[in-house]
């Protein structure tokens, strides 16, 4: 298993009521697999998993990407800075 931290920002943090999740995911789990697992484990986040952006180690990551060991994962809505 792979122990990861998932940082949550903006609407994701509001929905979850927490700034981060600590999770165990299968080795070689994909980003899509991670989203599926979060949708199951955190019902408040399930709806958001369809449109959420994901970063792994501070780079945008996409559904097929493998989540590396000890990754710093973040989940957030499309950005709105400026």
């Amino acid at each position: 298993m792979n122990h990861i931290k998932v940082l949550l920002f903006a609407t994701l943090r509001d929905r979850a009521g927490t700034k981060s999740l600590e999770m165990e995911i299968p080795d070689r789990a994909t980003v899509q697999g991670l989203k599926d697992q979060i949708g199951r484990d955190y019902p408040n986040l399930k709806e958001a998993m369809g449109t959420v952006l994901i970063s792994i180690n501070r780079e945008y990551a996409f559904d097929e990407a493998i989540v590396p060991q000890n990754a710093e994962v973040a989940m957030f809505p499309p950005v709105s800075g400026g």
């Binding site: 903006a10 501070r58 780079e59 809505p77 950005v79 709105s80 400026g82």
Partner: protein, 167 residues
């Protein structure tokens, strides 16, 4: 590629933005021109602009903002600001200095929230286009979010851009 004395400055800060200081940081002896974009908190948004928040999108009605509350995923935001600066240098090789600064926290109307500044020897070498590109890209890929607070409550301002692989 660029000489190492071409300064790139980026920052996410809770402090007041200082345009004079920022411009000085990216002005070299060879610099003759700067284009600076500044974004401010709008206190009043006119009715002719389609509301960005579905809950407020009553057509024909202006809306008021009491303040915006910004947050950032700071280390990734810094990395993405650096990337925006690199993209600018690739596209406009004559750009000398680049500064990208986002202020976060609770920010009131008429307060500058973001600055993008590009310098070059001359004004006809892309400084305006480079600054415009910088603010466009910041709003696409730099992980910062804002919540708007006004008389009708709080609304997260949702962006629209979905980054592509490699961004």
């Amino acid at each position: 590629m660029q000489p190492s004395n071409f300064p790139t400055f980026f920052s996410i800060t809770e402090s007041e933005l200082d345009l004079n200081d920022l411009l000085a940081k990216i002005t070299l002896p060879s610099t003759g021109a700067a284009a600076i974009f500044a974004g401010m908190v709008r206190g009043e948004t006119s009715r002719w602009r389609r509301g960005r928040h579905p809950a407020q999108a009553k057509r024909g009605e202006a809306h008021e903002t009491a303040f915006l509350e910004y947050e950032a995923y700071v280390p990734m935001a810094e990395a993405k600001m650096k990337q925006v600066a690199e993209e600018i240098r690739e596209r406009w090789p004559s750009i000398e200095g680049i500064a990208i600064v986002q202020r976060i926290g609770k920010l009131y109307p008429q307060t500058p929230t973001v600055l993008i500044a590009c310098t070059a020897a001359h004004r006809d070498t892309g400084v305006f286009d480079a600054a415009r590109y910088g603010i466009d890209r910041l709003k696409e890929i730099v992980p910062i979010w804002k919540k708007e607070v006004g008389p009708n409550g709080e609304f997260w301002v949702e962006g629209e851009y979905i980054p592509k692989p490699g961004e």
